[in-house]
Symmetry: C2
Subunit: 477 residues, 2 copies
């Protein structure tokens, strides 16, 4: 919408202008700098379920015939995503909260290992991809387009070329600056033959892609290790079950590669795990029919399935050689950097965690990335407990205000035309970690609340203090 | 990098695998859920200037002949951005910090007026744009492409069509859900004829675009007003001088429109401001040669120039009619929603604020979005004050730890092979709001520090307590 440069001279209606100009007049006259105090931070109101844009599509009579897996069905059904073009989705407000938390978690772990966040263009010139030899290799999976001057571009499915070009443009990079770990969290584009399983195999998706530059192979493998460790920490902090398997390097290249897989029957990857030594591999990397473990020479390999959520590659000098990505070594001589690259499917982790943790009819979230931690249920309008409504509103407000970890994490289900039971059922489907029912007992001298802890399945009856104690321990990000 | 499905059966080197498997064995054997305590939050080390990926390109001998304005020159020179394809840039780590702060500020103000954040696909099907009539209208400015099935797409330069389609898909939207304000912060694509001025007119840029749905014109104009107010708050909190002008609606459509402009000589927009009543307009909306104000009938219009950073439109039913975006009104009858749309150029605000606030040779940031608030300078290696080095490291660490507003905001310029003077000069160019020089006096019983406050130009000598007091008031986001 910026600068739309049409030179027509239309008359504008004055209806609103007058009101606007009344309030703006002062500012228009004096273009002075207005001093704004710290107190001008706006107050964020408690989110109300009745106002959330979270359409419950399936319950409104659509059938969802093409919903091919649990996560896709649940995510569409509960208004987390909405289908757009094939393999493309609208991320609706509740899902986006979850996604932003996941990005914060990833940022935290990437910074902890010295990662620096950048952002590279989605439009990648064909020239770069021809330099690496992948312009042909990528085939139809790559979206290609021309600009108005007939320049050839693709929409970056990954950014090895772009980042190596960036590194190479720094002509006097000292070895003291290495290891250099650059990463981004951006939308990637792949023209999948058959997009399916919702966010699990889309044509537009968010990926965290990190690229490392090191002085030699030993240092590069050390970096490789530290990124793998960060990936394991991320998955652990999400309380996901994972397995790290030996993997194929495919058209990324390089000589060493691992995938991080979440065991799941709908997973598209076949894994072989040794019952003896724990060796694990993607079946792609094994001799066909291999049944005995090559690592311990004795164990039997068992096949299972997984959803790939991360992929690490030790690249060596495949790209740095082609792009002349050099640094100046300790002897003041230019040398080719050793590279690694490391992907995490961000939107895929979101969907995959719903896939593997949920039941058939209710979402379970990794606690850290649940969109909201607490849902407060006021009594039904016109019911005996109706007077407790205000208590519920105060509670929702005060929890968010008094517990720093719950700021913005408490939602009020104000659809008081519905029974508590119906709203509790909805809350269960949406998987809020804690649901607080405010009823008659909230009006007692020693007010108490019914608290449903969805992760443990327990229901507790707690005083306000007890509730605050319980919720103060909730980890948020 | 996800799921590269090549079915070659390559042998992987075991060099690293063994180490990895040693540490991973336990996990591989038991795919149990590992409980992670809250204390597992990683420690983020103090950022070191020597390790920041912030290449100072121009000082390394390149000339920058095509750098057309102050912000572009300063941003390239200080390693904030790096050019890629024409009109496309790499956002480097320091700039990205600033950009992320700006997004947080915008999020805060959008939430305060009830905005809900979503994320829509960049790939928009031609069908949608044909429905609105803009497929032809947009001309060469739109990037167009085919998918592997020859489906026609564009890369969304804006999302009126997509959001209206989303709204329309909710067939039983109640009037009680309105106003509905959906917004996103995503990358936009426009094939500019002549990209120029760095981030000010790029082909890929970040925009905050909000879309409103209301029950009638009156409510829509009320929403329009509240978004304009939020825009004014955002620009005020950035301490930017701005002017809100009557604007043309161009190919977005609608009947009412305003632009938010930052007065600047390099601005591409010509503005007319009345010296009497404060009426302001983009010259596009006026009769050619008009010199007298139409608002107050007496004032003289003076021409100036501005950089457009925001644009608001009252759309009426242009899109909602075409897409049948209906809601169910209070009489239970379907009615067409009244729409507004509201853009903020996010990367443009970043560059424009540098453009208008900086001097020819030093960046000045809006305080709230300065990438780092404080730079600590330890003494030169081998100098008399050398023993204070450790004090500097401790100070950098402790400021970030003890002042919540400064968490992650303190950087240590550890390039101690350079003199204090040279590093102070760099710090001035980079525009850290506060630079703390740690010298001999830091070793005194009553340690003191030299503090350069770049915004006021003052230099203070403060005790540790005095420094903490001063910095505790710094507003961060």
């Amino acid at each position: 919408m910026e600068s739309v440069m049409h030179h027509c001279h239309r008359k504008l209606p004055t209806l609103l202008s007058r009101t606007l100009f009344k309030t703006l007049k002062r500012r228009h006259l004096n273009l002075t700098i207005h001093t704004v105090s710290a107190s001008s931070k706006p107050v964020i109101p408690t989110p109300l379920v009745s106002r959330l844009f979270q359409p419950s599509n399936l319950r409104e009579g659509q059938d969802g015939g093409d919903l091919t897996c649990r996560s896709q069905r649940l995510m569409v059904q509960t208004g987390l995503i909405h289908p757009s073009n094939p393999g493309c989705f609208y991320y609706l407000p509740v899902a986006l909260r979850s996604l932003e938390k996941l990005v914060r978690l990833i940022d935290e772990e990437m910074h902890a290992i010295g990662g620096q966040k950048v952002d590279m263009p989605a439009l990648c010139s064909a020239e770069l991809w021809k330099k690496s030899g992948r312009w042909e290799l990528m085939g139809k999976e790559m979206f290609r387009l021309l600009d108005r001057h007939n320049g050839e571009y693709c929409l970056g499915p990954t950014h090895e070329e772009a980042v190596t070009e960036l590194f190479a443009s720094q002509t006097t990079m000292s070895y003291k600056k290495l290891p250099l770990l650059l990463y981004q969290v951006t939308r990637k584009f792949r023209d999948e033959q058959k997009p399916k399983f919702g966010l699990l195999r889309g044509r537009e998706f968010y990926m965290k892609d990190m690229y490392s530059f090191d002085i030699n192979e030993e240092a590069a493998l050390h970096t490789y290790n530290s990124v793998c460790q960060a990936y394991r920490r991320i998955l652990d902090r999400l309380h996901l079950k994972w397995v790290q398997v030996q993997a194929d390097t495919g058209n990324i290249g390089g000589t060493l590669s691992h995938e991080f897989q979440l065991p799941a029957d709908i997973g598209e990857d076949k894994l072989l795990v040794c019952g003896n030594c724990g060796f694990s591999a993607n079946i792609e990397t094994m001799e066909p029919g291999q049944a005995k473990c090559s690592q311990c020479q004795t164990g039997k390999l068992t096949e299972s399935r997984g959803i790939e959520v991360g992929h690490t590659f030790y690249l060596g000098t495949k790209y740095s050689q082609a792009f002349k990505a050099l640094f100046v070594n300790a002897s003041n001589v230019p040398a080719v950097a050793e590279m690694g690259c490391f992907g995490l499917g961000v939107t895929r982790i979101l969907a995959a965690s719903i896939e593997v943790m949920s039941t058939e009819d209710a979402i379970h979230w990794p606690g850290l990335i649940a969109p909201y931690q607490v849902c407060v249920l006021p009594p039904k309008k016109g019911s005996k407990a109706h007077e407790a409504t205000q208590k519920a509103e105060e509670l929702a407000q005060s929890l968010g205000n008094s517990l720093p970890n719950l700021r913005g994490e408490v939602v009020l289900d104000d659809r008081t035309q519905m029974t508590i039971g119906k709203r509790l059922k909805d809350a269960k489907i949406l998987g809020y970690p804690f649901v607080v029912v405010v009823g008659q007992t909230a009006l007692d001298d020693l007010a108490s609340f019914e608290v449903v802890c969805q992760q443990s399945g327990e229901t507790l009856f707690l005083s306000k203090d007890g509730l605050v104690d319980l919720l103060s321990t909730v980890e948020t990000i």
